[in-house]
């Protein structure tokens, strides 16, 4: 009972159950072995001992009872009770002594098993989580763009939960049950074949019954899950749109619709639960019936003196029948355990399979070998590597041909040559795009949603890759640049701000992990975020959570600008970075930004033309093509699309 409420996030939805691939089990075990070889073997041994300790006592009960019978026989044949006792007690005591030894062993094994298992389970889950997470960090952006985030989360919640169930409960249980079954079966055969047959017959009956009921249950259970999914989906939609509901007085209608979904759910859930809830009592009482049949068969055999067939060669007597009763319970319990756990194992393996799928996902490739280094000039004016931050960077470019290394100063010269690109084949979103950004220039992209503005920036920082040599950075083919170094040289501020749980200071420092508090505050001042941050309850130490849920969208954008500013990158990409900041504040921020970006290359994407008016070059994009380019004045003079946009507001007046 590690976690009574099995899945605190509620039942999983929308994940089709499926069969695990072959080899998943082997792989899973090999993972467990890899990290916990000795403890796992120890647990296996303990499970074995424990199972025996549970299964063996039947023999001793029989021995003890036989001794008691003998004693009774002595008494009834006229001996004194004392004499009878004296003659049988040694047998009883020695049997009980062995029993105690077995029990003690079993107890120790059980104790060691559960404690070791706790360590293995939690440690293993931790290992899997970190492997998954580490792997996830290496996946290309494409993966996150093409997979639902909820589905990715599900690996960490649902699949890890089923894995926990599998490792900590199902697996040990199945081994235990198997050992007990074999042992009990042997002991039963040792005593009597006939009675064993009765027990096996009962067990088969129970398996069939539970298959039958369980099968019907499974069908309705799926229905219940679907109804639950619909109902909870509706709850989510209506509560998220609650304010709209209020504004439109839509409450009665939404209550009505909810009532319908809720009643459907109630019906389906009741049916599904009926199956689940009746299974246990039915199986239980079948056990009782089996119990009775056993006594009956035993009595008949005893009565008619039917020759007993057994390995022990003993005759059937009362002393044999009684432990049989206990053993029949054990046997049937473990059979139903096995059939129940089989299901859990299938589910657990499917979960493991999905986890392996994530782990096996193709990581982001990086053949880049040109790296970014701190640089300085030597006496002769040549660029050499510096061992500390100099404010000057250079691309370290090793040449495999002759083993030499050349250095190119990082300038921020970015060129795209006739780039064509599509996220999926056959659907080109960029056509023949050429851009020449000289160091220190401010390049702006204007265009409707879907025109391809963000796509261009995705290519520059290699979130997506294109054919070789089409994009050059300071003259170097960006495919040769190590991705991490390329990205370190590019500061990105996106429209959708993502802040992380932590203090405001932590969030700003994200741009440069070794930045001092002073540097962070200076960056915040440049981004015009300082004044509102100081008004927060704990200033820079205010803890943000839920993506900075306490802040306005504009404030969050300001923090993300500060975050980029502290990184102090030579090239900056601002993708609608100021869209939620009012124009007055934006004017102040952009003044600060312009000062910050002095002499650095900036790519700006914005809806507001006022944001980009002072750019060196403005590219007007339409359906993936650059249709106009030039400075604001050039474009106005051209009287093209930009001019229309810019003056659009006047026309209707």
């Amino acid at each position: 009972m590690s976690r009574p409420i099995a899945n605190p996030r509620g039942p999983k939805m929308g994940r089709p159950t499926r069969k695990a691939k072959k080899g998943t089990f082997k792989r899973l075990i090999s993972y467990v072995f890899k990290y916990y070889k000795l403890p796992f073997v120890l647990v296996l041994v303990c499970i074995g001992i424990n199972a025996f300790a549970t299964a063996l006592p039947g023999i001793f009960q029989q021995k003890v009872l036989e001794a008691a019978e003998t004693g009774l026989g002595l008494v009834s044949s006229g001996n004194s009770v004392e004499f009878a006792l004296d003659s049988v007690v040694p047998t009883i005591v020695s049997a009980v002594a062995v029993l105690i030894v077995i029990y003690v062993l079993g107890l120790v094994a059980a104790f060691v098993q559960t404690r070791t298992m706790a360590v293995i389970t939690q440690g293993f889950l931790h290992k899997m989580r970190t492997i998954m997470f580490g792997k996830m960090q290496r996946l290309p952006i494409k993966y996150f763009d093409t997979h639902k985030h909820g589905d990715i989360m599900s690996y960490y919640t649902n699949d890890i939960d089923t894995l926990r169930q599998l490792i900590s409960q199902s697996l040990p249980q199945i081994i235990t049950s198997a050992i007990i079954l074999v042992t009990v079966l042997s002991i039963m055969l040792y005593f009597s074949l006939w009675l064993t047959l009765v027990v096996v017959f009962g067990a088969v009956l129970m398996v069939i019954t539970s298959k039958f009921i369980g099968g019907g249950g499974a069908k309705y259970f799926i229905k219940q899950q679907q109804a639950l999914g619909k109902c909870e989906g509706y709850i989510e939609e209506m509560i998220n749109g609650q304010k709209v509901v209020k504004v439109f007085n839509h409450e009665p209608k939404s209550k009505e619709e909810f009532d319908r979904l809720n009643s459907q759910l109630c019906n389906d859930a009741t049916t599904a639960n009926k199956f689940a809830n009746t299974l246990m009592p039915i199986i239980n009482n079948l056990g009782h019936i089996l119990y009775v049949l056993l006594v009956f068969t035993g009595t008949i055999l005893y009565f008619f003196d039917v020759p007993n067939i057994s390995f022990s060669g003993q005759d059937l007597n009362i002393a044999t029948i009684i432990p049989f009763l206990g053993m029949s319970k054990q046997f049937t319990n473990n059979v139903s355990q096995l059939s129940q756990q089989a299901n859990a194992i299938i589910m657990g393996l499917a979960g493991a399979d999905r986890i392996f799928e994530l782990i096996d996902e193709e990581p982001e490739t990086d053949e880049g070998y040109v790296t970014l280094v701190d640089a300085k000039y030597d006496e002769n004016g040549n660029i050499i590597e510096a061992d500390k931050h100099t404010g000057m960077w250079a691309w370290r470019h090793p040449h495999s041909a002759d083993g030499s290394v050349t250095y190119t100063k990082l300038e921020g010269d970015v060129r795209l040559n006739e780039v064509d690109f599509g996220y999926v084949e056959n659907k080109i979103v960029l056509h023949d795009v050429s851009i020449y950004a000289k160091p220190g220039q401010k390049i702006a992209f204007v265009g409707a949603t879907g025109a391809g503005k963000t796509t261009i920036t995705n290519l520059i920082n290699r979130f997506y890759d294109i054919a070789d040599g089409k994009i050059r950075y300071d003259g170097i083919n960006i495919n040769k640049i190590k991705k991490s170094d390329l990205r370190r040289s590019l500061g990105v501020v996106l429209q959708d701000v993502n802040l992380f749980t932590g203090t405001v200071m932590d969030n700003i420092r994200y741009g440069k992990l070794d930045a001092t508090d002073e540097e962070c505050i200076a960056a915040a001042k440049r981004a015009n975020a300082h004044s509102f941050i100081t008004m927060l309850p704990d200033g820079y130490n205010t803890v943000l959570s839920g993506n900075g849920s306490g802040l306005s969208q504009g404030q969050r954008q300001l923090i993300s600008i500060a975050r980029a500013a502290v990184a102090d990158p030579p090239v900056m990409i601002l993708d609608e970075a100021t869209s939620s900041i009012d124009t007055r504040t934006e004017a102040i921020v952009s003044a600060g930004m312009d000062a910050l970006m002095q002499g650095r290359t900036v790519f700006v994407i914005a809806h507001r033309l006022s944001t980009i008016k002072n750019s060196d070059v403005i590219m007007v994009l339409d359906k993936g093509r650059i249709i106009e380019r030039g400075s604001h004045d050039d474009l106005i003079a051209q009287r093209g699309k930009y001019y229309q946009l810019y003056t659009g507001a006047f026309e209707l007046e």
């Binding site: 976690r3 009980v96 939690q122 007085n249 009532d259 993502n498 749980t501 007055r584 946009l645 007046e653």
Partner: protein, 601 residues
């Protein structure tokens, strides 16, 4: 903790009959289940004593009954016993199955009622109530929490009745059948009981804490997944992995700590079981020889022993489960006990006369505890049919101001009048039907475009819908969709662009034929030309409707009859474009920062 559970139990409603029946039927099942080993013991004794009815057999009446029918055939007695026992098992099976069914009905019905109650409650919440809980927390309370409470409810009416009963009956039976031998239970039970409680008490607080940590860990994964572009842009993959590794290790350690405590459970249970077994084997067998008990009773003792210990184990599980769901119950009760802060007046006014709006000395703050007023000393008078622009920086309380008009919030000080009457005197539905707000954070719902539009007016004809869509410049793009007005909108309106969504929201609001129309930054994603067209259509087509437009761009408000400049919750100035551009510093500054530039989609 139990107060909440009791409150929730009252929502069983018409399923009460099942909720009461279940424990009763379960009790009958338990009685049957306990009687079976009882009679089995008799049967064994009968056989063992070579078909002589001894003193130890309690059901002599049954044996003599069978013997009176079929005299001299001991086998008939055995057969009769077996039939009796099988009948008992079948009865027990029937009771168990029926209890399973009534229990399903009761618990599912209970969950249904609870959900309905919660959902209706949240529907009646005011904006203030919603803000207080936050939407995500409300969703969890209606989904996960209800499911957990349902599980517990099922446990309580079934297992929580079954286990103690089983426990009591088994002890009773053990004493009847085993006599002094049953004294072993007097020793073992307290040991097990205290052991289990001690373990649960020790482990629970750790579990509570670690579950919180675990949730936080998962939340951090989510954050990472959402923010992957940021992580990769800043090349923080290793940093994130390290951070996660530490947090995950931390959670794992805590879990191990808690699990290790729980790991005492199983051995403790085994210890008690083994103790009983050993005791019975050692002394029971001697008691048989002494003639104190008979063999049948020996077997009954073993069976009852198991039942007693198992029911104790179940009890401790139930205890843990109920305590855990008590947390959920508490969170549900918080919602149920929350009073909607905005209610209809006793004798409400149902007719809104015209679109006049007056703010008289209005001050407002979002919660009583807030130190600062979001709005202070607002006086504003708008005549029916006027177009009013509101402009101001981020956080100047533009949205707050207009939300007071349809009584989405109530003023803290002063009053807001619509059509010459205090908004608090109106029937809320009538008021909100007359005042149509297009919210800044607007939502479309899953369903067709028509379904969405009908929110404004359930009985709107196709012609009416087309008319309002034309007014909102939405008709032009709807017509380009293959399914036109029957185009299916995904949840949250993810399959239309921001500008299209805004235009659909405006159309939806227009369908209400309101006396007052409020656009809260509702055209920010619409290009300037379309924006202007929408405003022009408003001026021509709904001249008598009072229109309030909150905007970022000056161009959206400059031709309004009246422009209100808000700054930090106060009215800085009111005037027309030409007046303000001359006299108002803020307005001038905003104007200049935009220098007539536009925004485009």
């Amino acid at each position: 903790m139990f107060k909440n559970l009791r409150q929730l139990a009252s929502y069983v409603g018409k399923y009460k009959i099942y909720a009461i029946l279940t424990p009763i039927i379960v009790s009958l099942e338990v009685v049957m289940e306990c009687l079976i080993p009882f009679f089995t013991a008799d049967l064994i004794t009968y056989v063992q004593q070579k078909y002589v009815v001894s003193d130890a057999i309690l059901t002599k009446w049954f044996i003599s009954f069978v013997e009176s029918i079929i005299p001299g055939k001991p086998l008939a007695v055995v057969g009769g016993y077996c039939i009796l026992l099988i009948l008992m098992a079948l009865t027990s099976l029937t009771f168990g199955a029926v209890a399973g069914i009534t229990c399903s009905k009761a618990s599912c019905g209970f969950a249904k009622n609870l959900r309905t109650e919660l959902f209706n409650k949240t529907q009646d919440f005011s904006f203030e109530n919603i803000d207080k809980f936050s939407t995500s927390s409300l969703v969890t309370r209606l989904t996960t929490d209800v499911t957990n409470v349902q599980q517990s409810f099922m446990m309580i009416i079934r297992t929580a009745i079954r286990s103690p009963l089983m426990f009591i009956f088994s002890i009773l039976m053990a004493f009847i059948r085993g006599g002094s031998m049953a004294l072993i239970f007097v020793v073992v039970i307290p040991v097990l009981l205290f052991g289990l409680i001690f373990i649960a008490k020790k482990a629970m607080p750790i579990f509570k804490k670690v579950f919180k940590k675990y949730d936080a860990l998962n939340a951090s994964i989510q954050e990472n997944v959402h923010g992957m572009r940021v992580v990769k842009s800043f090349v923080r993959e290793d940093h994130e992995s390290d951070k996660f590794g530490t947090a995950s290790q931390n959670v794992a350690n805590d879990f191990v700590r808690a699990d290790k405590i729980l790991a005492f459970n199983n051995p403790l249970m085994l210890l008690c079981m083994y103790a009983v077994m050993t005791f019975v084997c050692l002394f029971g067998s001697q008691a048989i020889v002494k003639g104190d008990i008979i063999i049948g009773e020996f077997s009954a003792l073993l069976t009852y022993g198991m039942q007693i210990l198992m029911s104790l184990m179940m009890l401790s599980m139930i205890f843990v489960m109920i305590t855990m769901s008590a947390e959920c119950a508490k969170r549900i009760c918080e919602v149920l006990n929350e009073d909607a802060t905005i209610k209809n007046p006793p004798s409400p006014v149902y007719e809104v006369e015209n679109g006049d709006i007056d703010f008289v000395n209005v001050s407002f703050k979002y919660s009583e505890r807030a130190e600062r007023y979001a709005l202070s000393d607002v006086n504003l008078h708008i005549k029916s049919g006027q177009t009013v622009g509101i402009i101001g920086g981020t956080g100047s309380a533009k949205s707050t101001l207009v939300q007071l008009i349809p009584r989405l919030y109530d003023t803290t000080v002063g009053q807001v009048l619509v059509g010459g009457k205090d908004v608090r005197d109106y029937d809320i539905v009538s008021l909100r039907d007359s005042v149509s707000v297009v919210l800044q954070k607007n939502v479309l719902f899953s369903g067709t475009i028509k379904d969405n539009l009908r929110w404004g007016n359930e009985n709107a004809t196709d012609a009416e819908m087309e008319r309002v869509c034309t007014l909102a410049c939405a008709d032009e793009f709807i017509k380009t969709f293959p399914d036109k007005y029957d185009t299916y909108i995904e949840q949250g309106g993810t399959n239309v662009s921001g500008g299209q969504k805004q235009r659909l929201c405006i159309a939806r609001a227009l369908l209400k034929k309101p006396k007052i129309l409020i656009l809260d930054d509702s055209t920010s994603a619409v290009d300037t030309r379309t924006d202007a067209m929408i405003r022009k259509a408003f001026a021509q087509e709904i001249p008598n409707t009072t229109k309030i437009i909150i905007a970022q761009r000056i161009s959206s408000v400059e031709d309004a009859d009246l422009i209100v400049v808000l700054d930090d919750g106060k009215i800085d100035s009111i005037g027309t474009h030409s007046e303000l551009i001359k006299d108002n510093a803020i307005y001038k500054e905003i104007y200049e920062s935009q220098t007539k530039g536009g925004k485009m989609e």
